[in-house]
Amino acid sequence: MNVGLEHYLTVSAMLFCLGLLGVILRRNVLVIYMSLELMLNAANLALVAFSRFNENLTGQMMVFFIITVAAAEVAVGLALIVALYRKRQSAHVEDLTSLKL
């Protein structure tokens, strides 16, 4: 069986599930952030696969913009984590519960 769109989408879906599992299970804020990156990359893979098998470059343009926005998002998110760590001296989600009633 030739490798087609389904195979790439399957890899993308499995990677997305892995990222989601990491976000739910891990307690370290930094590792949660890395799992988020994993999910973002899974979406990128799906878009590139669609772009290839539909003979259309628009999907790849979308990935181009997503990578740019992800870079900005990582910078802001990590700055937030550093600021939070300065206040709380902890990078565990269980120690960051000041919004809890």
């Binding site: 989408l9 890395m34 799992s35 990156e37 290839r52 790849q60 181009f64 990578i67 984590i81």
Partner: protein, 170 residues
């Protein structure tokens, strides 16, 4: 089996293996290990991009993700000086709900992907090299406004990061 197909299975396997090691590494709970495996995941994924003829994006993936973003991650990990994560008590509720939602989502995605017949070209010939993407980006007119907005977004992010990392947060 053709040679590109073998390469696809190789890169897909590597991507998923390294991705699993980012999320749950049985040998180490150090964030630095996760970051290093994330670099490997991204490199394997760049291989998949090359197989999909998206050469420019494969290069950008390595440059931006494996280069810039991961250096930023490692900087922050070293800056925070995290101690080895001590084993807290296993959160059974979290594991059950996490596994349940992930299995449900996975089942749903697999049924959607393999259930209906997806439209796809028999012999795809589109090539995403630098020239094709540049022409698409700058001559169609359709992406000029988003391009400008993204550049403003990068500026805003830069100003925001500088403000957030000042010593005194008011």
């Amino acid at each position: 089996m053709a040679f590109p197909d073998i390469l696809f299975y190789l890169f897909a396997f590597l991507t998923l293996l390294f991705g699993a090691l980012v999320v749950a590494n049985p040998f180490s709970r150090n964030p630095v290990t996760s970051a290093m495996f994330l670099v490997l995941t991204i490199c394997a994924m760049a291989g998949l991009f090359v197989l999909l003829n998206a050469f420019f994006l494969a290069a950008v993936q390595i440059l931006v993700y494996a280069g810039a973003v991961m250096v930023l991650f490692l900087f922050v990990i070293m800056l925070l000086d995290l101690k080895e994560e001590q084993r807290r008590k296993i959160n059974l509720f979290g594991i059950v709900t996490g596994m349940g939602s992930v299995l449900g989502l996975g089942f749903l995605l697999m049924r959607t992907i393999w259930g209906g017949d997806l439209e796809q070209a028999a012999n795809p010939s589109v090539i995403g090299d630098t020239k094709a993407l540049g022409l698409e980006l700058f001559t169609k007119g359709q992406f000029l406004l988003p391009f400008e907005i993204v550049s403003v977004l990068l500026l805003v992010a830069m100003v925001g990061v500088i403000l957030l990392s000042k010593k005194e947060l008011k």
